[in-house]
């Protein structure tokens, strides 16, 4: 991780936000992919063939936490920066959710949706479930790109520019 991103994450508020968001997303991803069970007993279980998916879930939840925390940092202190990066970050997180939020054990209620829409939703869910790994890899790629561009933009924003004296100073702690 590059220094500017690290510098932002050294602030306790943003470090806590990143950790908290990662923990929430991680719990959700691991639950949705059946690595974590809450009922009837609390069980954590990673089968050997689920190792790839588990690793991707952990990486995605960590990246999601950091990207969201950094996006909040950017919005709070450097609002003049392009929002495209934040949008891309949220796009990556949305893909991660789509890929992870369609396991087959709760699709049946969708069949109750009126007309053929319920069946279509189930079909889409099944397709997403079948292609979870490529979708999650895409999501990791998007979030990684967002991290890189955030780092670059933070570095640029912190550089001294005569035309933008307010933003050139380092953000208040």
């Amino acid at each position: 991780m590059s220094p500017q991103v690290l510098d932002a994450l050294r602030r306790p508020v943003y470090a806590s936000a990143a950790l908290g968001i990662s923990a929430v997303f991680g719990t959700l991803f691991l639950y949705l992919n059946q690595f974590l069970f809450f009922a009837p007993y609390f069980v954590f279980f990673v089968p050997s063939e689920g190792l790839e998916l588990f690793t991707l879930d952990v990486v995605l939840s960590a990246l999601s936490g950091v990207v969201i925390a950094l996006s909040i940092f950017q919005i709070r202190y450097i609002p003049r920066l392009s929002m495209g990066r934040a949008r891309a970050g949220f796009g990556g997180i949305a893909i991660a959710f789509i890929a992870g939020a369609c396991p087959c054990y709760y699709l049946v209620p969708l069949l109750a949706v009126a007309g053929g829409a319920g069946g279509a939703l189930v079909t889409v869910g099944i397709i997403f479930e079948a292609y979870q790994i490529p979708l999650k890899l895409l999501s990791v790629g998007l979030l990684g790109t967002v991290m890189y561009t955030l780092e670059r933009s933070l570095r640029a924003a912190c550089a001294v520019k005569p035309s933008a004296p307010e933003e050139a100073s380092s953000p208040p702690r």
Binding site: Q34, A39, V43, R80, Y106, P109, I126, A130
Partner: protein, 231 residues
């Protein structure tokens, strides 16, 4: 002053995006956890209707076993396959073969027409005493859902590979005689609150039940079986 106004309006969109992400997280969480909580009301003495066993219901293990594990599954479901690989072997070895439990299959087909065909074929194989061999064969050869791996033609080939009497198999497979059983099994699953596959109901001798949703490990089943057996 104008700069501050611009900044605030610029912040609206990202705040909206954050709200969308949080809403997505909460929505997914609600869907997932509401399913679990509604199904975690684990004990009730009634409800044997959906858990009834008739002559067409495949049962593995001793009929006199005090505990029954009902599997509501779909042959195309990837998590059912995961459970078949990781959990079922130990259940058979430690719980079924020792006479503590029996394993009961109830199809809960919703992946598509191939799921229904797979169930019909498995029941047809069951007429020749080979339901569980067909079950094992299907899960061992599972492909991407709805990719055609469980097409009717492939299911006939699977039956041939298992050495079934093909005249008898084809007659049964094409008769549609299991349509009502498949529909009633699905209705049974819904009555029990199953929102998908795999869903398991562990039924004890006194009617006490524990429901397990998802491809849970052996330890969860062992605890559930001990819980209902003692109660």
């Amino acid at each position: 002053m104008p700069r501050r106004i611009r900044s605030r309006s610029g912040m609206r969109r990202p705040v909206f995006l954050i709200a969308v992400v949080i809403a997505l997280a909460l929505g997914a969480g609600y869907l997932a956890f509401s399913g679990t909580l509604s199904q975690s009301n684990t004990t009730n003495g009634s409800g044997l209707g959906p858990l009834s066993i008739n002559s067409a219901t495949p049962v593995l293990g001793s009929a006199n076993a005090p505990v029954a594990i009902f599997e509501f599954g779909d042959f195309q479901c990837t998590y059912c396959h995961q459970w078949f690989l990781n959990t079922e072997p130990q259940i058979i070895q430690d719980l079924v073969n020792t006479g503590k439990t029996k394993l009961v299959w109830k199809d809960f087909d919703y992946y598509g027409p191939d799921s229904t065909s797979a169930s019909e074929a498995a029941y047809a194989a069951g007429e020749q005493g080979k339901f569980w061999q067909f079950y094992d064969y299907l899960y061992s050869h599972q492909g991407t859902p709805n990719s055609g791996w469980a097409s009717r033609a492939n299911l006939v080939t699977f039956a041939q590979n298992l050495g079934l009497n093909m005249t008898q198999f084809n007659l049964s497979f094409s008769s549609g005689k299991y349509d009502s059983l498949i529909k009633s099994n699905f209705a049974d699953g819904q009555k029990l609150g199953a929102s998908g596959t795999p869903t398991f109901v562990v039924l004890g001798p006194n009617g006490k039940t524990v429901q397990l949703v998802g491809a849970q490990p052996y330890s969860a089943f062992e605890t559930a079986v001990n819980s209902v057996a003692g109660g």
